[in-house]
């Protein structure tokens, strides 16, 4: 019997990144549980998906364990096991040939949500290799939130200030009981405390009657306010709230005068529409909008936590900007009585610099300029944030404009399920001359790959974890056990590939060298960080005596933002344009009288881990929610398997009834599609094509008119 160790590590399945304790013996993980008593954050969802997915993944018989090369036709599932040398040499040869014959931009790095350091490695490789085409799901995940904060308040690191209990919390398109939101250091327990307090109003804005506190059986319908806006009308609702605050004078004129720019422009914009219009477009009663605006403006500190749900629309950026206006006009950011505060992250190697910034000579040689980048001329801001929108790649592959990409290198991502319009995505990806996919498990995307690389799980190698970077914390995720078979960490794959394409000088001899480099600014080695420090949180810039200031160009809250205007983006959210996601191909018709939106599972992470028994047993099958009255009108009953159809296609999920939901909304579950459930894939309902959110490259992933009928 070996020595039994108890290690602290962190869950990565949602952005709360709870501390976990893992008991390890003889290269086996015996137990994983919440890291209570470690002194590190533990919010712990009631599902306890963290421990389950760690143990489940490490012990899964489904893991990929050897590099595989396609045999025969694409998508037939026939593979030949090859060595790492053969895999990497084959890829390197193709990369160098494409670079020589067509230019490095024809190689596309395709990345998903970062877990450890692999995302940063992928970005760094792209910079060194000379391709500006790094495709990430940032176009509908986090960017609208962080960038609207940055353009408005001068920082991406604006978080909830939890040293004083907030007097109002607005949860907008986020599911705090089950996951950390795009922005939230509102821990689950802080939130629970607010739910049993007379001092805090809780306002939920969500089409779904989300669980607020599962162990209590408490839902959105038990909150002070539950607003159920029409999917993708959130920007209009936000502007409605701004209008009430501005026109009822629910702001501090002195603060507006001294600390904001552009108030007059906002006044002018909100004078151009009525609350009746807002009610009609959002389905939220005018009186409710007025009450919520008054509550938020007068009860301080006030926190608005928004989630991914607001980021998948053709007006995503301005929707989040409009929410920033609410925070800004009410003086809720970086003020002594505000609900939000700037965080100063720990001084480790900043991911942005690691990805792009410390290879200046490479950037001069191969700039990430709009002319070289897919969609560079179309998306006003996205290339500044270092990504190509996902549907931009699909569009480029299908139209061959501005050129036809030749090679795709995919890490931590499953585009065939997660990009809008799965059929178009598959058709597009099949046009790549070489698709390389690194994965834990077989997926829809590995199925059409040319080379599949077996990846080590997050807990099977040492790595620095920092994502979401704007949460301002950095964590040591230590290796608990060896990876299965010949699996390698993504970091190691990229490091070794770099050496084979002549870019070794930008990478490292070993993974540990790379980790040392990342934590060097902290004044310590990786080993010290991993074994002694483990976790560092940012510092709050809160000042109880004065406004802490803003790092915008003007040094003030930019209600109207000149920098945006310079980039060709409306400096103030334009009410008329915020109606775009409700119009045209998205709108109701005789054929499609209901409105599809979607939610993420409370059990899994995005499309992942759906094969793990421990999690599968905890989950319902693919589930679509509807109002009971609507279901009855269509002859449908609880438990029926039904088709949900949009103009793009149809999917099959099981119906669950949810009293209180808006009768026109059909809420389908995102993320299914692998493991024999191809017909439950939500992205068969969505469209990759224009219109898009031109500043950030978002695309509509909800808010499509639909119909429902019983499946045979």
């Amino acid at each position: 019997m070996g020595i039994r160790h108890e290690y602290v590590t962190f869950c990565h399945i949602c952005p709360n990144h709870c501390a976990l304790k893992a008991v390890v013996e003889d290269n086996k993980v015996l137990e994983v549980k919440a890291g209570g008593g470690t002194g590190f954050p533990v919010h712990m969802c009631s599902v306890q998906k963290g421990p389950d997915h760690v143990i489940g993944t490490i012990n899964s018989p489904d893991r990929l364990t050897k590099p595989l090369k396609r045999k025969g036709e694409r998508g037939r599932g026939q593979w030949q096991e090859i060595s790492w040398d053969e895999a990497l040499d084959t890829i390197a040869a193709k990369l160098l040939q494409v670079k020589k014959d067509f230019g490095p931009e024809r190689v596309v790095m395709i990345l998903g949500e970062p877990k450890g350091t692999e995302f940063a490695f992928g970005q760094r490789f792209a910079t060194a290799f000379g391709t500006p085409n790094v495709v990430t799901p940032g176009n509908y995940c986090g960017v609208q939130n962080t960038e609207s904060l940055r353009y408005t308040f001068g920082s991406r690191y604006i978080m909830a200030r939890m040293d004083a209990p907030p007097r109002v919390i607005i949860v907008w398109g986020a599911n705090l009981a089950h996951t950390g939101g795009t922005f939230s250091n509102i821990g689950r327990y802080d939130f629970n405390r607010a739910l049993v307090s007379n001092d805090c109003k809780v306002i939920i804005i969500d089409p779904k009657n989300i669980e607020l506190w599962p162990e209590k059986g408490m839902h959105a319908s038990d909150a002070d306010y539950w607003l159920r806006p029409r999917p993708n009308s959130d920007g209009i609702l936000a502007m409605g709230l701004v209008k009430v605050i501005v026109e009822e004078g629910l702001y501090d004129p002195e603060y507006i005068e001294q600390w904001t720019v552009g108030f007059e422009e906002v006044q002018k914009e909100v004078a151009g529409f009525t609350l009746e219009e807002v009610e009609e477009l959002t389905w939220v009663p005018k009186e409710t909008i007025q009450e919520v605006a008054r509550v938020y403006a007068t009860e301080k500190p006030g926190v608005i936590g928004s989630g991914n749900a607001l980021e998948g629309s053709t007006q995503a950026f301005q929707t989040l900007r409009a929410i920033c206006l609410i925070r800004g006009i009410t003086g809720n950011v970086n003020t002594p009585d505000g609900g939000h505060v700037d965080m100063i992250p720990p001084d480790y190697y900043p991911p942005g610099r690691f990805m792009i910034g410390d290879m200046k000579e490479k950037l001069w040689e191969y700039p990430r300029s709009p002319e070289r980048t897919i969609g560079g001329g179309v998306f006003q801001l996205s290339s500044r944030f270092g990504y190509v929108p996902t549907q931009g790649l699909v569009h480029a592959l299908l139209t061959e404009k501005p050129y036809l990409p030749k090679v795709g290198l995919a890490f931590v991502t499953n585009p065939l399920l997660t990009y809008p319009d799965s059929l178009a995505t598959e058709k597009a990806f099949r046009k790549l001359e070489m698709l390389v996919v690194s994965e834990l498990f077989p997926t829809a995307t590995t199925n059409i790959a040319d080379i599949v690389l077996p990846a080590a799980f997050m807990h099977e190698h040492d790595t620095v974890a920092y994502w979401p970077a704007w949460f301002a914390n950095v964590r040591a995720n230590r290796k608990l056990v060896d990876p299965p078979g010949e699996a390698w960490s993504d970091m190691r794959m990229i490091n070794e590939l770099a050496k084979r394409v002549g870019l070794g000088e930008y990478f490292w001899e070993t993974e540990e060298d790379a980790l040392d480099y990342l934590v060097k600014p902290l004044g310590m080695t990786w080993q010290k960080f991993r074994d002694e420090v483990i976790y560092l949180h940012g510092k709050s810039a809160y000042d109880p005596d004065q406004v802490a200031g803003y790092h915008t160009k003007s040094g003030k809250v930019e209600l109207s933002c000149a920098e945006l205007a310079k980039a060709g983006v409306d400096p103030v959210p334009c009410f008329a344009k915020l109606k775009d996601p409700l119009r045209g191909k998205f709108d109701f018709s005789d054929d499609y009288p209901l409105m599809m939106t979607n939610y993420k599972s409370e059990i899994f992470m995005l499309s992942g881990y759906r094969n793990l028994g421990l999690l599968k047993d905890k989950s319902l099958p693919p589930t679509v929610y509807m109002n009971p009255d609507t279901a009855r009108d269509y002859g449908l009953a609880e438990g029926d398997w039904i088709y949900i159809e949009t103009y793009k296609g149809r999917i099959r999920q099981q119906l669950a009834l949810q009293p209180g939901m808006h009768p026109k909304v059909v809420n389908v579950e995102f993320g299914w599609g692998d493991w024999g459930l191809a017909d439950a894939n939500m992205n068969l309902l969505t469209d990759f094509d224009e219109p898009w959110d031109y500043p950030t490259g978002s695309v509509a992933i909800r808010g499509y008119a639909c119909k429902v009928y019983k499946a045979a």
């Binding site: 549980k33 009631s46 327990y189 049993v196 779904k208 989300i210 669980e211 059986g217 408490m218 905890k618």
Partner: protein
Amino acid sequence: MDKVLAKKDFPRFLADLQRDHQVLGPTRRGGGTSTYAKALFAPIRHAEDLEINYQSSMLSPKKLLFPDNQPIYEYEKKGGQVELRPAGEQWDRNVVLLGVHPCDLAAIACLDKLFLEDRFQEPTYQDRRGRLTLVGLTCAESTPHCFCNLMGAGPDAEGGYDLLLTDLGDRYFTRCQGAKGDKLLAADYFQEATGADQQARAQALARLEAGLPEALDIAAVVEHMKDRYSDELWQEFSEVCCACGACNMVCPTCHCFTILDRTNPDRSRGKRVLVWDPCHFERFAQMAGNASVRGEKSARYKHRLYDKLLYDPQRHGRLFCVGCGRCIEFCPAHIDLRAVLRKLEG
């Protein structure tokens, strides 16, 4: 009276119940609004809605009888007057709660003591309890968290039900208590139980008992608690506690609540609601002047167990822990109450 119900006749039994009652039972509906597939007590329309072989639910029947977020009254200012309107949610039909495990039956007996039989009568609880028929079900198997045997609450139920079913494969052994149960048992699909049925029932429960934790002298535990109020063990067991209150919420007997006013911004109208309040929150014991008598989480952890095992028995004559295991299953830090009890026993 003991009878048996052939499983093929179960739909008839259910249909008869549905004629005069709303039937609630364990379903596989997740949290009702989430895909977390833990059993949930919800309306049963068809026999197939029933997840009769469920192991445990996150929310106990407490949620139905003593609801969280319960409106008490609404008010509205009209001119100089304040109008008060009662806002309690009454059941408009008689209800059958089907498939309640013995631990949860024992928990309802605890709530009965508290809200019906002793010093106070809680009107909503009283009304609902009067309309309720309880059809219990002994467990088919235990979960890794169960310890009903240690608390004398299972695996068999000694009372607290109208009917009690035990799964014997192709039939349910059905025991009844009281007039409501007698009436139900009069239906022609219930057959007299034979000696073999009795024996099969005893064997099923013995098998179940064998899977439950080794016996424990709960009287000794309680006795020792009296001397160990200042013991270090409370610190030791609560060290990893997240003070999240999950154990309070899922506990079928925890009944502490606070009163909140949900008002509109100018406070001209609103409603007063009763909200379950976890004693694991520091604010729970906060007093005027911001003093808290249980500022340390170890003090809160300790208090909850003293309440259940010592103070409640003194007040209400029975243990207020029924060994359902929810506090273990849903504790994010995996704190195991059974380990605490063993330590106290020795």
